[in-house]
């Protein structure tokens, strides 16, 4: 009981830790957080002032009531003109002060907005992000076309470099939001949106789809991995290559299972004949930290469960259940786990 209470307290404190949007890892989120704290201080002061005025007014009004005789409601009283003039002056002053405060907030907001909009425009690294029901397709399309590659639900970025995220939607409207890096931006069918940002602090940052997009809106997460430029280049070089060839019998058998079942209708593995576009690219599946819209750890048990019956994990998602015999499942898993 005591332990449970202590655990609950620890959890509550964890819940009140610094929230992601106010724990910026790059200049864009930092500017927004600065603006937040300024505005927050102003509105907190205003709120406190209103509460104090309300409390004083109620206290005064109560006292006045006690001083008036009788049981029932006191007879209505016309206001006293001199007092009315004084109060009108106070209200006028309070309204003018409110207008001044709002003007300050407006200027601060517009300045921050301009600063964010002007930054990171010089030679950014372009990453194309496409929102789909209910996962993210990520494409690195710079340099020669042969070096382009696609991955899913995980964006790797070099720290310190300007980034341009080219945002589009494959089906319905989604919202790209990684609170530690920047505000959100919608991905809208028929429109090309973009977001310019920079990451200063290496680390992994969770993002979630912000615009309601149907059944599995809840389980549509994305992971941003910010790493030193060298680590990023190494990652990119690995990702550019085709899928690794099977190294043993089980993996070879697994590839056969993959290619002979319905998998390639939706998924692509570069270096094989699988070229489906409806689902995530699996060329380097094993290099990713998580699966299922960044919802489950990329571990053998989760992967097997996902392949056999993803509907149990993410009801309504677009992947059908796969009725495979046990040995085939084992082989398929071995192959998928080898795709580093």
């Amino acid at each position: 009981m005591k332990r449970a209470a202590r655990a609950a307290l620890a959890l509550a404190l964890a819940g009140c830790g610094r929230p992601a949007a106010l724990d910026p890892a790059g200049p864009q989120a930092a500017r927004i957080a600065d603006l937040w704290w300024l505005s927050f201080a102003v509105v907190a002061a205003v709120y406190a002032a209103v509460l104090v005025a309300l409390a004083l007014a109620v206290a005064r009004g109560r006292r006045a009531r006690r001083e008036s005789a009788g049981d029932g409601p006191p007879a209505p009283r016309p206001p006293d003109p001199a007092r009315t003039r004084r109060i009108a002056l106070v209200i006028g002053a309070a309204s003018a002060a409110s207008a001044a405060v709002l003007l300050v907030l407006l200027v601060a907001s517009v300045r921050t907005g301009r600063a964010i909009a002007r930054a990171e425009r010089e030679h950014p690294l372009v990453v194309e992000v496409t929102g789909r029901q209910w996962w993210w397709s990520v494409r690195y399309a710079d340099g020669r076309a042969s070096e382009w590659f696609e991955t899913a639900n995980e964006i790797h970025l070099p720290v310190g470099r300007s980034i341009r995220l080219a945002l589009s939607a494959g089906d319905v409207i989604h919202g790209f939001w990684v609170p530690a890096l920047h505000g959100k931006r919608d991905l809208i069918p028929g429109r090309a949106n973009e977001l310019f940002l920079r990451v200063e602090r290496p680390g992994t940052y969770v993002g979630r789809c912000a615009e309601f997009c149907g059944h599995q809106h809840a389980k549509m997460q994305i992971l941003v991995v910010a790493e030193a430029p060298e680590a990023f280049e190494a990652w990119r070089a690995r990702q550019r290559g085709p899928a690794r060839e099977p190294r043993n019998e089980a993996e070879r058998r697994g590839r056969e299972v993959f290619l002979s079942s319905s998998c390639p209708l939706c998924h692509a593995i570069r270096g094989t004949s699988a070229g489906g576009q409806a689902g995530p690219d699996l060329t380097h599946l094993a290099s990713r930290a998580r699966i299922a819209g960044n919802w489950l750890p990329n571990a053998p048990g989760h992967l097997a469960g996902w392949v056999l019956d993803s509907q149990a994990v993410k009801p309504g998602n677009r992947m059908p259940p796969n009725l495979l015999p046990g040995p085939d499942v084992q082989a398929l898993l071995a192959y998928l786990r080898s795709l580093e």
Partner: protein
């Protein structure tokens, strides 16, 4: 007490009373119930029906809070959860908040203006039936698992034919159209009644603040609702007959829908909130025992709020990537709207400051309103900033903000207002003890539920998610919110139980138990269907507080029980001088039949495009029954039939 501000008996009074009773009597049984066109009956039904929908939508919210108690919980799957939050939002906005305010206005405005009914009584009844039937259709669809599941905003392409096959969204789109028809009807009623049926002497600068609030609201409805009817109708056409208004692949534009929806959607929240401001003013003056401070400033603030509310809609779309300059304009407008609201808050505080406060339940709700709404308004000021909004938009921060403004800003005043007008509605007093207990539970439960959501939003929890990951850290605050929701639900049950019990067992109230100022308190509690036997004449801004005993009333209005008509006095727009007498029509079954035909037609059109063609026939036929058999021409008032309005006694402006 001003409950005695009634006229002395006049010759022929009893005969006239009997004639009026007969003219307005809808007859016995269910048929009689459906025939009534009295604003008293329609208004009461509006409020009661809206509260039924409030309970349903609240139950949906409770189910959602239960589902979110634990990370990766599977009590409620996404299919049902998405229907639940869509039903919650749609019902609260379209079937509760707007109709309950309009119902209250339909009930109170004629009484406050000192007239016998709204301007178009049959249209009024039609509006109620349209609203009630539309709500019944929507909840029936939900019970049959065809409840809408794309959010109360239903953005295409998600809500379009490709990504939402089936009939779910079709029911939503038709329901929206129908409830907007009902809202427009009520708005027209209130504008026409306020402009032409005020008591003699109630010039524009003497209209009660509640009526001003409803007048501003009604104009907002008239300008805002057509936009959403367009949006919902285009969406229905995209889905049912294959138009491509919102399909980018065929040259349509998904964002067009958002512009249309929010051009309505932002004024919508003020359409809910502005009536509440009127309720607050009514309560404040009655329980501070003085007129509300700064009447002209209050009225101008209401009007300013109405205007500026149409310049904010893009702040719901800051994340869509619109041009920067345009966004700045909407930031400025979103900040600007804080000013008129601030002025009103200041004026209420000044009223309390200079008043002698009677601490009854309605006043507690008003104090709770100020403490809660101001916080919601200030988080709104934060979100007016584009950069901050891009962080908190579509997160639980916004869920917190909107509930602080709509529950704190509209539901608290409404609950206080229901306590306040309960004696007028039922003739009995609600229990003060249970009332205060209910308030304490509602207030504490509300803050416990919604305050933690600010933090959840900043921490990254998006809205409209049926679950969240175990490693997200969202669980403790969601459990806190869940506990708060239980307290809040208990408070609502105490509130409801109190009213149900008091309606039967409460202490009998006189016409004016609070000693309040507006004219509805001069009518009996509950008022007869015709409101006033002799409509009052007004001599000042503060209604009953300025009437002298035995002051003038309107006499000489005729009624004809044979044709079911009765007369009301029409006054002119600016200074309410008597101008004409007009006949109002009596009870009729035809408004109900028209509403059934209209709702039937729109529901059938979900299944076949031929529905509007054949549905037009019963709609047209039922409309034939609306006109009164021999519409008498308005009679010009003869001198001496109505007392002249005396000049108001000299008085200091408050």
């Amino acid at each position: 007490m001003s409950g005695d501000a009634r006229a002395p008996a006049l010759p022929g009074e009893e005969e006239e009373r009997a004639r009026l009773e007969r003219a307005l009597d809808p007859g016995p049984g269910l048929r009689g119930w459906l025939r009534s066109v009295s604003h008293r009956d329609v208004g009461r039904r509006y409020v009661a029906t809206a509260f039924v929908f409030f309970a349903l939508a609240g139950a949906a919210a409770a189910a959602m809070r239960a589902q979110l108690l634990f990370a990766d919980n599977d009590w409620i799957g996404p299919d049902l959860y998405n229907q639940l939050f869509t039903m919650h939002g749609t019902t609260m906005m379209f079937l509760f908040a707007v109709p309950v305010m309009e119902g209250l206005a339909v009930y109170l405005v004629p009484l406050m203006l000192g007239t016998r009914n709204v301007a178009f009584p049959r249209l009024n009844a039609f509006g109620y039936y349209t609203f009630a039937l539309a709500g019944i259709v929507l909840w029936t669809a939900f019970a049959l698992d065809v409840g809408p599941d794309t959010g109360w905003f239903s953005y295409p392409p998600l809500a379009g034919p490709e990504f939402s096959p089936g009939k779910r969204v079709d029911f939503w789109a038709q329901l929206v159209t129908l409830t907007e028809v009902a809202a427009l009807v009520a708005a027209v009623e209130i504008v026409a009644t306020t402009f032409r049926q005020r008591a003699p002497g109630m010039s524009l600068d003497r209209i009660p603040l509640f009526v001003w609030a409803m007048l501003v609201t009604s104009f907002m409805v008239v300008f805002a609702m057509p936009a959403v009817m367009l949006a919902s109708t285009y969406l229905a056409l995209d889905r049912l007959v294959g138009t491509h208004f919102f399909n980018p692949v065929e040259g349509g534009e998904a964002l067009l829908y958002q512009h249309l929806f929010w051009f309505f959607g932002h004024p919508e929240v003020y359409i809910i909130f502005v009536p509440a401001l009127g309720i607050v003013s009514s309560i404040v003056s009655a329980f501070a025992r003085r007129p509300v401070f700064g009447y002209p400033a209050m009225v101008l603030s209401l009007i300013a709020t109405g205007f500026v509310s149409f310049g904010l809609w893009v702040h719901h779309m800051f994340a869509t990537g619109l041009p920067e300059l345009g966004e700045s304009f909407f930031t400025a407008a979103s900040l600007l709207i804080a000013l008129p609201t601030g002025v009103q808050i200041f004026c209420w505080i000044a009223t309390l400051w200079t008043g002698r406060l009677v601490f009854a339940t309605p006043l507690l709700y008003v104090i709770g309103f100020v403490a809660t709404f101001v916080l919601g308004g200030l988080t709104g000021v934060l979100q007016a900033s584009v950069p901050i909004d891009t962080q908190v938009h579509d997160t639980f921060f916004v869920v917190a903000h909107l509930h602080y403004t709509l529950v704190g800003g509209a539901v608290f005043p409404l609950l206080g207002g229901i306590h306040f007008w309960f004696p007028k509605l039922t003739g009995r007093m609600a229990s003060e003890r249970l009332g205060k207990l209910g308030f304490a539970l509602v207030f504490a439960g509300f803050h416990l539920t919604f305050f933690p959501m600010h933090q959840l939003g900043l921490a990254g929890m998006p809205r409209r998610v049926y679950t969240y990951a175990p490693d997200s850290g969202f669980e403790p605050l969601n459990q806190l919110a869940g506990a708060g929701a239980a307290v809040l639900a208990l408070g609502v049950l105490v509130f409801a139980g109190n009213l149900l019990w008091s309606a039967r067992r409460g202490r009998v109230a006189g016409p004016d138990p609070w000693g309040a100022e507006t004219l509805e308190w001069s009518a009996p509690s509950p008022p007869p269907r015709y409101g006033f036997l002799h409509p009052p004449v007004v001599f000042g801004r503060d209604g009953l507080w300025e009437r002298e005993a035995g002051s003038a009333v309107v006499t000489g209005l005729r009624s004809e029980p044979e044709s079911g008509t009765y007369e009301v006095l029409l006054t002119n727009l600016v200074d309410a001088r008597p101008e004409l007498r007009a006949d109002l029509p009596g009870p009729s079954i035809f408004p109900f039949l028209t509403a059934v035909s209209l709702v039937g037609t729109l529901v059938a059109s979900v299944f076949t495009p031929w529905a509007p063609v054949f549905g037009g026939v019963p709609i047209f036929l039922s409309l034939l029954g609306w006109p009164v058999r021999t519409p008498p021409a308005p009679v010009v008032l003869r001198e001496g039939e109505v007392p002249d309005v005396r000049p108001a006694p000299a008085r200091a402006a408050p």
